[in-house]
Structures are given as structure tokens and as C-alpha cells.
Symmetry: C2
């Protein structure tokens, strides 16, 4: 896990600025959240906060929408990609497991 200087993923941008950055209306941005295409965090009071990644994703979404792609379809595509990534991650972990079993680490948790 990398840490802090992942400016790209830190949720700090309010919806007004996101609207400026993307050219989308606040209505649209909120609607894409309703359709589970985007997942802002909230301030204590409840104001939405977005990351640069979110902004980029919104621009992607806007382009897809311009091509006539439905929000549902965009979501399906997202889920498909996510599944691929997750699968890759799991394969990776299994590989590590194999390696440790054969070559490594008598005492994985450091217990006695």
C-alpha cells in the first residue's frame, strides 16, 4: 500500500469545482452517483468530496454518455473491469502463497 502522496485519489474536491472541471451539471454528477458510477466521500455535514480520479472517471462517463451509452451499461463495464482486477489480485496472492510454501518463511506471523 502506497501512502499519502496519492493526491490523485484523495477526496477533497467539492461538487461545484468538479462541475467546473468536468463541464457536467451538479444534477448529473449526483445522478451518476445514484446510478453507482461514482463514489464520493462526505464531509461531516454531508457535502460530497471527490478525487481527481473521480473527475477523470466523470469525464469518461460524459464521453460514453455522448456516444449514447446508458448509465446501466457503463456500470456493467465498470464491474467487468473490476472483476478482472480482483481476479488478477487473487492469482497474485496464490502465487505468493506457493512461493512461501516452497521456499520461504517458516514463521509467517512471527509467533512462537
Amino acid at each position: 500500500m502506497k501512502e499519502d502522496p496519492l493526491y490523485k485519489n484523495r477526496k477533497v474536491i467539492t461538487i461545484g469545482v468538479v462541475s467546473e472541471l468536468t463541464g457536467l451539471s451538479e444534477r448529473q454528477i449526483r445522478y451518476y452517483e445514484e446510478r453507482k458510477l461514482i463514489f464520493p466521500e462526505r464531509t461531516e455535514r454531508g457535502n460530497r468530496k471527490y478525487s481527481f480520479s473521480d473527475v477523470e472517471r466523470l469525464i469518461d462517463i460524459a464521453n460514453k454518455r455522448d456516444e449514447g451509452v446508458r448509465t446501466y451499461e457503463i456500470r456493467q463495464e465498470m464491474l467487468k473491469n473490476k472483476k478482472k482486477e480482483d481476479d488478477a489480485k487473487i492469482r497474485n496472492q496464490m502465487l505468493r502463497g506457493q512461493i512461501n510454501a516452497r521456499f520461504g518463511v517458516q514463521n509467517p506471523k512471527g509467533k512462537n
Copy 2:
């Protein structure tokens, strides 16, 4: 000049979020601007927008203040550092000029 993915330097964070991020009061943040330690941009209406760099600089400032350093002194230090950078930049440009004069570029602007 690098371009867009300089997330670090894009002014997009409102003062409320900056306050959360730095632990400083909005009053303090505005005051450090008054003392020319920090230079937010503004939205159309006039709301301040800060970058991640600004946030980091504010954290630096807060640390200096905790050590008792005055805002005036912090500013002097900043200006000193800036001067160094600018001087380095100029030396760099002069060097390029020398190189071009001796070895390069008959037609620097591409004109006929």
C-alpha cells in the same frame, strides 16, 4: 512545462477542506494569505481554492509557527529560496544560450 497530471499543483480545494487537512482555522489560513505566505486562486464568485502544495506549505508554516517563527521571517525565508531557484534558472538559460551560440540552431524561431 509539464501538463495536467500535476494534481499536486491544481487549485481545487476549498478552505473548509484545507482546514480539515491542516488542522488550521480558516482565520489562520486567510491570515497567512494576507501575510503573503500562500496564494490561493479564486472561483468566479470569490471563494478560495488551494492545491495540495498549498496544503503542504501550510503544514510547514504551522510547524514553523509552533517553533515561534514569525510570519515575516517565514516570508523572508521563502523569498530567499525563491531567489535561489530563480538564479539557478537564469544560469541554466545562459548556459543554453552559450551552447546554442557555439554549436546549434541556425534558425531558432524557424523563420525564413
